[in-house]
């Protein structure tokens, strides 16, 4: 592992389809005057699945928070579909078409599955539209449809994650930001979930930015990846290239 602040090693891949959808440029952010991110640059193109990985304490969750407006960006900017969204909070971002699924469980445990989905479209007044959209989500996640009247608190970990993803899809976002989607899921369920994300990308054209602890699975799934170390992007490239990169492997994939 390099001792000084690592620099970007792998040149960005050119296989990414579509135009740039989300761009973070020189983002410096942290907590209470203490910077965690020292100038993050990353971009996500339309239709891509991009994974941000890194060891514990590298600042990858802070990347998520900075993009989603949960903490202040002290310097640099975040642009989504050509619009400067640096200072926007979660509510505004929802309206611009970027949804998020945070790491913590965010189901409403004492509401049933249907009601949870309904609230995903809280910002929409048209009831008929909400109903149609819930039917769409049930088509995508048949297991949720079977449990529509069940309290979300009684669902299994995988089903809860599916509900969270389903709920984030309610507003028909063009991009979904996910913080550690595999947390609390078994390897099999993680695989299933990643498979589902891929399907959503292929069928609904949704772009994904994942922040993941589980680097190997995340990079296997992703079109491209970013490795964050000490608040900076240390490596970037296709998922495959990063998995094959000697230095990345040595750093934190365990050889």
């Amino acid at each position: 592992m390099p001792t000084s602040v690592p620099e970007t090693h792998t040149k960005e891949s050119s296989i990414a389809p579509g135009e740039v959808m989300l761009e973070a440029a020189g983002v410096i952010a942290g907590y209470g005057g203490f910077d965690i991110l020292h100038g993050i640059d990353l971009e996500v193109r339309r239709g891509e699945i991009v994974s941000v990985v890194g060891p514990n304490g590298s600042g990858k969750s802070t990347v998520f928070k900075a993009i989603y407006g949960l903490i202040n960006v002290r310097q640099g900017m975040v642009v989504f579909e050509g619009e400067n969204v640096t200072a926007m909070g979660p509510q505004e971002l929802l309206r611009t078409g970027m949804a998020m699924v945070p790491q913590l469980s965010t189901v409403f445990p004492s509401l049933n599955v249907y009601e949870n989905l309904e609230l995903g479209m809280y910002l929409v007044r048209d009831k008929a539209r909400v109903k149609t959209r819930i039917d769409d989500i049930f088509d995508l996640f048949p297991r949720l449809a079977d449990r529509r009247a069940q309290y979300a608190g009684t669902l299994s970990g995988g089903e809860r994650r599916a509900l969270e993803i389903g709920r984030s899809l309610m507003l028909n976002p063009r991009m979904i930001l996910m913080d550690e989607p595999s947390v609390g899921l078994s390897p099999i369920l993680t695989k299933e979930m990643f498979q589902q994300l891929r399907e959503l990308r292929d069928t609904a054209g949704i772009t994904f930015l994942l922040i993941e602890q589980n680097a190997r699975s995340a990079l296997e799934l992703a079109d491209r990846g970013y490795v964050i170390q000490r608040g900076l992007v240390s490596h970037t490239g296709t998922g495959e290239a990063l998995l094959g990169d000697e230095e990345v492997r040595r750093a934190f994939l365990g050889g």
Binding site: P90, Q91, T106, F108, L119
Partner: protein, 293 residues
């Protein structure tokens, strides 16, 4: 036997009133996690408003009820927005102290305005009594019970069936998730406080016809409401209703069988009950959680 049945009748009526009163407190606690120590004073404030409406405008309390609910909601909304929200994220004792101060202020202002002489709101049916076999119930108490049950049902329907109600429950269950789906949590908290206050005003208005009231009765109501919320497990309307009926019947029983001091004994008994219940079942009769129904 005769006394027992009369006690149960009186207890159920008292319980219906207590349930409404306590549900207001429970709603605020369930959603905001704030114990409103001014709840009883809010109730008494509602009682005085009903009295004023009757005395100066000649309005029957049932006519005043919608007005009380609207005023209570507005008053509660403003109070929570101006004095509670700013301290909510600070120390947990802050809202407690603020509502305690608010209680003193309300009691003081009511004393200055109305003196401490007890008042009773009159109604056309004030002196009417329903007699069935040998049992007697005053019409004003029957009105209170029916109105309380109707309001509780409406509240339950609001929480379970409407979008705003569901959003309120959702906010209670997971505040972060509520933010993520675009619910304005501050506004939701203020609405919950407003709704709880509206319920207190309504309960006070109904109560004001059945019994004399004065500015310093509020504290006891707050305590009783608190006892009922704890007993009922805080949250479910059905739990609150059961606990309120329980406390009402015990109180009516003690005042029915023990002359003179029975009513005060009943209150004491309610507190003993809470200690016993909490010792045996710390989660309350049902369980303490977010707002459910």
């Amino acid at each position: 036997m005769h006394t027992l049945i009369q006690v149960i009748i009186d207890g159920v009526i008292l319980g219906g009133f207590y349930a409404l009163m306590a549900q207001g407190l429970s709603l605020i606690f369930g959603i905001m996690r704030v114990i409103n120590l001014a709840h009883g004073e809010f109730l008494i404030l509602g009682a005085y408003m009903a009295w004023v409406a009757q005395e100066y405008l000649g309005l029957d309390v049932l006519m005043t009820l919608p007005l009380l609910i609207a005023l209570g909601f507005g008053f509660g909304w403003v109070v929570s927005r101006v004095v509670i929200m700013p301290v909510l994220e600070r120390h947990e004792l802050m809202p407690l102290l603020i509502t305690f101060g608010l209680a003193s202020v309300i009691a003081g202002l009511l004393t200055v305005t109305f003196t401490t002489t007890p008042k009773v709101t009159t109604a056309a049916y004030s002196d009417s009594v329903i007699s069935l076999l040998d049992y007697r119930v005053s019409v004003s108490k029957a009105v209170m019970l029916v109105a309380a049950l109707v309001l509780l049902t409406m509240l339950t329907l609001f929480l379970n069936r409407t979008k705003k109600g569901k959003a309120m429950k959702a906010t209670a269950q997971n505040r972060e998730a509520a933010r993520i789906v675009g619910i304005n949590v501050t506004r939701m908290y203020c609405s919950a406080f407003g709704l709880g206050t509206a319920v207190a005003f309504a309960a006070g208005g109904l109560f004001s016809v059945t019994q004399g009231f004065h500015p310093f009765m509020g504290g006891l109501f707050t305590l009783k409401a608190f006892v009922i919320v704890v007993l009922g497990g805080g949250g479910r309307v059905s739990g609150t209703l059961a606990a309120a009926m329980f406390v009402g019947i015990i109180e009516a029983g003690l005042s029915g069988y023990v002359s003179n001091i029975g009513t005060s004994l009943g209150t004491a008994a309610a507190f003993v009950l809470v200690v016993v219940v909490l010792a045996l079942r710390p989660e309350g009769i049902s369980r303490l959680g977010g707002v459910r129904a």
